[in-house]
Amino acid sequence: MARFASRHPVWTFIIVLAAAVFLWLIFAPWSAEMEETLGRKRIFLNAIFGGVTLGALYFLVASGFTLIFGLMRNVNLAHGSLYLLGGYLGFEISEFTGSWLIAFPAVFIIVALVGIVLQHQVFRRMDGEDLRQTMVTIGLSVVLADLMLWYWGGQSYTIFAPDWLSGPMTLPIISSIRDSGEIVYLRYPAVRMAILLAAIVIGIGMWLLLNRTRLGMFVRAGVDDREMLAASGVRIQYIFLAVFAFGAGLAGIAGIVGGTFQSLSPGEDTRFLLASLVVVIVWGRGSIPGAAIGALVIGLSEQLGLVYAPTYSVVFTFLIMALVLAFRPQGLLGSAR
């Protein structure tokens, strides 16, 4: 970061300035003129928080996708199906056991097992044939989508959060000031804050795992050059299995999260697959910080777009992608190789 600052002083200044303005917009009370031009602050704050929470959800899906793609060069286009499968399974398990929390480890394990089967039975059989692997995952996503439609039908499901997470909580952020001088603080659904916190914890955990452990070292080395890693005696197939299982499991629990604060229905699988695709295209493969920033940007642009330019909210995401592709085809954080 210090190197970036010394190399690009102007860019650093612009980024810092933008961040400062952004933070000021969030924390400072808005004057009447500002509310007139920008709309009510509560709407803005809700869009920001909605975007960040959505970004957290996208991060859970996209981080597994980008790790798998970065390490194994497998474009797993069935990743969205794993998300949806996880959500449906989470719904069933939480209905069956009556516990929202139990669903998480259970779904993680089941979907991770599905991922292991996928990696072992499908991807390893056609190692090095990128295109064929991609097509197989397209076929798998079609089949899985139809099987899930068969079993769970076309209606949408919502997973209910436990009582201690339901209802709103008050955040120490000023939403508006009444004429009487009374300060109104922002109220936000507690379950979304919990999701956000959990995503941050998982993200930091993944970063630590990748950057501070031996396994993480192998994975990072594999992303850079897997032939050299295999040649230096690491049993790369086990690492592939582990990363695939982890990525799949993460997509699975993201399904529960998505089912809790949005809903599960056929078609959601492609939505999350697309978010993952865009994150990888824009920020380069195999980068966890890239996945985090990318998911955040997509979530924010989607929610802010929804509030301030409803017609074109989806297009913003793809405009960003097209711009990055036009000027930096390898992704913003990707290396040129």
Binding site: L131, T134, M135, V142, W150, I281
Partner: protein
């Protein structure tokens, strides 16, 4: 074309003296006669729904086959290009939404639709060729879904969720081109032209350079060819075919909506091209007829084995998986291998293998 030696044609010693129609394998003549006289035996449903749809999907899949088979670029944007052409026909021509349709004459809106769709496809291609291999799939899939969401949310131009209905072909020469027999010949003619164009281009210098780039872009660049320009030009050519297919598709359905280029439709085109065989132009049409026959008659079949008709996607998905797993070059690959095995078996007495001949 005369400059390029074609191995198939030049193999015989008397090749220069043979006229062009003698070089065409007899199978093609049989196929042409069958296709031309099909309306005499087939009913309206077969003509319009089965064959019309086959030729249209075949053309769109053919544009993908051209990019993937000769250019090595698996582009999922072709269906969106087709839908774009369909939208343009609805917008510049006539439709049930008279507020948005401009009502231009057919000789204006048809070229305009193809032109705009081609520009769209070329722009996407220009973005997609900046990367390679699986990235191309990812990028074109992302842009295709952006197109889907954009058309679904834009009411000013694309009329949002409902799209345009009552988009019908113009009454040219006093013929109702949407009647089954004229429509059959219209789609047959367009598909044949598209097929011949692809075959011609693949043997023309441009197509040969493109295949060279597919096999080794660095070497072609070293030989002085502009790799990026050739790839973008390939997208342009493929877009024209897809655009014509898209216009026909809209005329057949009489409507165009965001779902025309939704993700399932985009993936169906890939499925069609891969099932047929991505290596040769005819594969696109073989894949299309398999797909159309399956989707037309699968409900009856599924019903007879006790499943609901909605499981069609499962059937097509499993078929696609089986093809990708066991025969990556599609049904054509299966046929080739069967021919090869038959040729290898040879004469039981002499042990000499005879030439398998030139299949379709």
């Amino acid at each position: 074309m005369a400059v390029i030696e074609n191995p198939d044609h030049a193999s015989g010693s008397d090749a220069p003296t043979r006229s062009w129609y003698e070089n065409i394998a007899p199978g093609w003549w049989v196929l042409a006669v069958i296709m031309l006289f099909m309306p005499a035996v087939a009913n309206d449903f077969i003509l319009f729904q089965v064959f019309g749809w086959t030729f249209i999907l075949g053309m769109i899949a053919l544009s993908l086959m051209f990019l993937a088979g000769y250019g090595g670029m698996v582009s999922l944007i072709q269906m969106s290009v087709a839908a774009m052409a369909g939208y343009m026909v609805a917008i510049f021509g006539f439709s049930g939404i008279s507020d948005l349709s401009l009502g231009m004459p057919w000789w204006v809106y048809l070229p305009l639709a193809i032109l705009i769709a081609t520009i769209f496809g070329t722009l996407v291609g220009a973005l997609a060729v900046r990367t390679e291999g699986i990235y191309t799939i990812m990028i074109t899939l992302a842009i295709a879904s952006a197109f889907f969401y954009f058309t679904r949310q834009n009411y000013g131009i694309f009329n949002g969720y409902t799209g345009f209905n009552l988009v019908v072909p113009p009454q040219l020469f006093g013929v109702d081109w949407r009647a089954p027999m004229p429509f059959y010949y219209l789609t047959l003619g367009c598909a044949t032209l598209a097929y011949l164009a692809v075959v011609y281009v693949s043997r023309a210098p441009f197509g040969l350079v493109l295949q060279g780039i597919r096999d080794n872009p660095r070497r072609m660049a070293a030989l002085g060819y502009n790799v990026v320009a050739h790839r973008i030009a390939a997208y342009t050519f493929a877009s024209i075919i897809a655009a014509v297919g898209g216009i026909l598709l809209v005329w057949q359905n009489a409507q165009v909506a965001p779902g025309t280029a939704g993700i399932p439709a985009v993936i169906d085109i890939l499925v069609i091209a891969v099932i047929g065989g991505i290596g040769r132009p005819i594969g696109a049409f073989i894949g299309a007829i398999i797909y159309v026959v399956l989707s037309t008659f699968a409900p009856d079949f599924l019903f007879s084995v006790g499943l609901s008709a909605e499981r069609f996607n499962l059937l097509i998905g499993l078929g696609f998986l089986a093809i990708v797993f066991f025969s990556p070059d599609g049904v054509l690959g299966l046929w080739d291998r069967w021919q090869e095995r038959r040729a290898k078996r040879g004469d039981p007495l002499t042990g000499r293998s005879d030439d398998g001949g030139n299949p379709l």
